[in-house]
């Protein structure tokens, strides 16, 4: 049985450290002196692929190249070389470069990156990044074929980050609908997991989310964050008749306008105004 907790301070600290470490390199990026056009791209590619270069210079080269992918038509002339360089970076000893490369390749639905990530999930000894990160990258492509692995990781893993990222993948998987609904209704699940389940359910079955939202808002024993999730779902996606036709719900929302935390009051007022309750 899992404890009904929010994200723990330890988890938050770990997330903060990870974010900080990823952004620190950017903060220190040096300005590369590059010519213009394709020559610049080729020079940046050379810096990026050179393991002797400093990490900040390689990161800057990567930034310049990635920016050029959508900004300059001449980039098409070096696009194949850029993809080849990114595929090499996937195995780079520098974790930051590995992550960046996997992120960029995954957004482009690159087959090589997807195959590498899936292999790492199936055989953890070959994994280049953590399972949570691998799932996050794979979630960029609903056709990557990560759904069944995501479901099994969600069931088996004790790591909240892995389970959250698994839910992102499962949000595109109709076969996971029942599991998501069960998780959303399960008070023993952490709040963050239930909130992520709500987002996943909205993608798969918006009606089911609205049904759950009504129950959650009416249930005075639900944690405030969960009720707020239910209110947000109603506020954003429900239709007025569904709310106005439910006397108990109207009454409960009316109570929330005056009682409860500031967030709840704001949400309740917003629903009242939007749906003219």
């Amino acid at each position: 049985m899992r404890k009904n907790t929010r994200r723990t301070p330890t988890t938050r600290a770990r997330d903060r450290r990870a974010r900080a470490s990823r952004t620190s390199a950017i903060d220190k990026l040096p300005a590369l002196e590059l010519p213009t056009g394709t020559r610049a791209h080729r020079q940046a590619l050379a810096i990026l692929g050179n393991g002797e270069e400093t990490l900040p210079r390689r990161m800057e080269a990567l930034r310049v190249l990635q920016a050029a992918t959508f900004a300059e038509p001449q980039f098409d002339a070096v696009r194949a070389d850029y993809i080849a360089a990114l595929r090499k970076l996937v195995h780079d000893p520098e974790p930051e470069l590995r992550h960046r490369a996997l992120g960029f390749l995954s957004r482009g639905h690159d087959d090589y990156a997807q195959a590498t990530l899936l292999e790492g999930l199936r055989h953890p000894d070959k994994a280049l990044v953590s399972p949570g990160d691998a799932l996050a990258y794979l979630s960029y492509n609903a056709h990557a074929g990560a759904q069944s692995i995501a479901r099994s990781l969600f069931k088996e893993s004790k790591d909240h980050v892995v389970r959250e990222q698994a839910l992102r993948v499962m949000a595109s998987d109709p076969a996971a609908r029942r599991m998501i609904r069960t998780t959303l209704a399960d008070r023993n699940e952490p709040v963050s997991i239930r909130q992520m389940s709500a987002a996943a359910l909205h993608a798969l079955d918006p009606q089911a989310l609205q049904d759950w939202a009504v129950k959650a808002v009416l249930d005075k024993t639900e944690p405030e964050d969960i009720v707020a999730t239910g209110l947000t779902a109603m506020n954003q996606f429900s239709d007025a008749t569904r709310i106005s036709g439910n006397a108990a719900l109207r009454k409960r929302i009316g109570e929330m306008r005056t009682k409860g935390s500031g967030v709840m009051k704001r949400l309740a007022k917003s629903i009242t105004a939007k749906h003219k309750l």
């Binding site: 980039f75 993809i83 087959d111 056709h143 074929g145």
Partner: protein, 516 residues
């Protein structure tokens, strides 16, 4: 290099094995079919690698059979993956001869390829890895080689080549090859440059069904839900007296040249139908491959974003039951990975008034005009025998007796029989036919009893006009005037008949006199 899953390893080995057999071409062609068991429950990425490996094997055994060429052109017309695109471009060069019609697909691929440019290693499964006998290339390089192979027939691509050279978006060696090619292209393209596919190839991508495939009992399980949430059976939706243009799609398709384009083109079909005055006599229906995900809201949004107008005659639907039967009936070229579509071809059908498949367009890009022509031809063919629903309703209304007491009786009968809850087109046709038989029988019986009179002749004439307008005049060409003339004649007959029975009227006296 990432390891390849065991299933794919076995598949690749099997492809290598059959490539050495004498009937390799037929066996490899069978592996191109999306419904082949090898693709069942494989992810989109896996299927891309598998199909790429099959195309590579086909390309190594020239000349390509005509039946194979649509599979190659399909990857060029709807490019989505660097490996498949590069392999298809190379494979086309194994065709017996260059043909002008290939330029269309090559042009599409050439314009898209720069965005898909990536290193591709031919001879290595999946396009990555390496080893002896492998060649590193890219989609653009292979396309340029194939355009060179096309020779003067590549003339329609001159503008694309010029643009690529001008933008500096190709590598120096590719630019050099393109410049040399550009110099050899005729400034005045030959007329056959943009010609249609030769019939020997086109017959694999579009045909008229003969005999038309009927609606089997297995389709009774199919239940369809439209973008508004209204539910209908397959027969209720398609056996309605109207030809229907049916296109398959799903909203999560990430290939912009497939589903998104298909639904946009369905919108164009609607506009063409309206322009030809056929908007009310030919329906359009888009059916999703992904009924679990494509909810009515999702369907509405998708249609709206692509300029498709939805109403009671033009729908997007999902199968809430019986998708397998639907898949079997249309012989859909789609494979699934668990509940997700992993691969599909472009598929458009024209159904006749009875819901039977009359024409099929698949795999390659289809012409909206051709589809509309096929559907319009069905209206012309069947119009003489089957009228539109409006005519049936009108006819039924004309044929019933019209006193207020009778109307209450009809309402009761329709209510307890459940007819109103299930207002299917065939039910209305049956109702109209039964009422007409009753109408004419009653009229003839009355004439037999009293002798032929003016009102009988007028009533029969009115009935004949209305019946002719509904059953004989082609669908879509029925005349509202004829309906009104029929109605007026029938109403006149009723008035004359009643006036004859009214005491004191000249007709009444006439009746009394005749009786005495």
């Amino acid at each position: 290099m990432p390891a390849i899953a065991e299933h794919e390893q076995k598949f690749a080995a099997e492809v290598d094995r059959v490539t050495r057999l004498s009937d390799a071409a037929e066996r490899l062609l069978a592996l191109c079919d999306e419904q082949h068991v090898a693709y069942a429950n494989q992810s989109a990425s896996a299927i891309t690698r598998m199909r790429g490996w099959v195309l590579e094997a086909l390309g190594r055994r020239p000349p390509l059979a005509d039946a194979t060429i649509p599979y190659v052109l399909e990857e060029l017309e709807a490019p989505s993956h660097p490996y498949l695109l590069a392999v298809a471009a190379r494979c086309l060069r194994a065709a017996r001869n260059p043909h002008a019609s290939f330029a269309l697909a090559l042009g599409q691929a050439f314009r898209t390829a720069p965005r898909l440019e990536a290193p591709v290693i031919l001879g290595a499964y999946g396009g990555f890895g390496g080893g002896p006998g492998t060649v590193t290339t890219s989609p653009v390089r292979e396309l340029v080689a194939t355009i060179e192979w096309l020779g003067p027939l590549a003339a329609p691509l001159a503008e694309d080549i010029h643009d690529a050279l001008g933008s500096g978006s190709v590598t120096p060696d590719v630019a050099l090859a393109l410049e040399q090619l550009f110099a050899t292209l005729p400034s005045d393209p030959p007329r056959e440059c943009c010609s249609e596919l030769p019939e020997s190839i086109a017959r694999f991508v579009r045909w008229r069904a003969s005999p038309q495939r009927g609606v089997g009992a297995d389709l009774d399980r199919v239940m369809l839900e439209d973008h508004c949430g209204n539910r209908s059976s397959f027969r209720g939706l398609f056996r309605n007296g109207y030809p229907t243009v049916v296109a398959f799609f799903y909203t999560r398709c990430d290939n912009p040249f497939k589903c998104s384009l298909t639904v946009s083109k369905l919108g164009h079909v609607q506009r063409l139908l309206h322009a030809r005055g056929l908007g009310n006599s030919i329906r359009t229906v888009g059916i999703t491959y992904d009924p679990e995900f494509d909810t009515p809201t999702q369907l509405s949004r998708y249609a709206h974003d692509r300029g498709l107008l939805l109403d009671s005659r033009h729908l997007l639907v999902r199968a809430t039951a019986g998708f397998d039967e639907l898949k079997h009936h249309f012989a859909l070229g789609v494979s699934f990975f668990e509940s997700l579509v992993s691969r599909h071809r472009i598929e458009v059908f024209v159904l006749d008034q009875k819901g039977c498949i009359a024409s099929t367009f698949h795999r390659l890009n289809w012409s909206e005009e051709q589809v509309v022509d096929q559907a319009a031809a069905l209206v012309q063919e069947k119009g003489g025998r089957v009228g539109s629903m409006a005519s049936f309703v009108g006819l039924a209304a004309l044929a019933v007796p019209k006193c207020p007491v009778c109307w209450a009786t009809y309402a009761s009968v329709l209510g307890f029989s459940g007819t109103l809850a299930y207002p299917t087109p065939w039910a209305l046709q049956v109702l109209a036919a039964v009422l007409l038989i009753a109408y004419f029988t009653g009229m003839l019986w009355q004439a037999h009893r009293t002798g032929w009179r003016l009102e009988h002749a007028v009533a029969v004439a009115g009935g004949v006009v209305a019946t002719f307008n509904t059953f004989v005049v082609p669908a879509g060409a029925e005349s509202a005037v004829a309906v009104w003339v029929g109605a007026a004649l029938m109403a006149c007959a009723s008035i004359v008949s009643v006036a004859r029975r009214a005491p004191g009227s000249s007709f009444g006296r006439e009746v009394s006199a005749s009786r005495s």
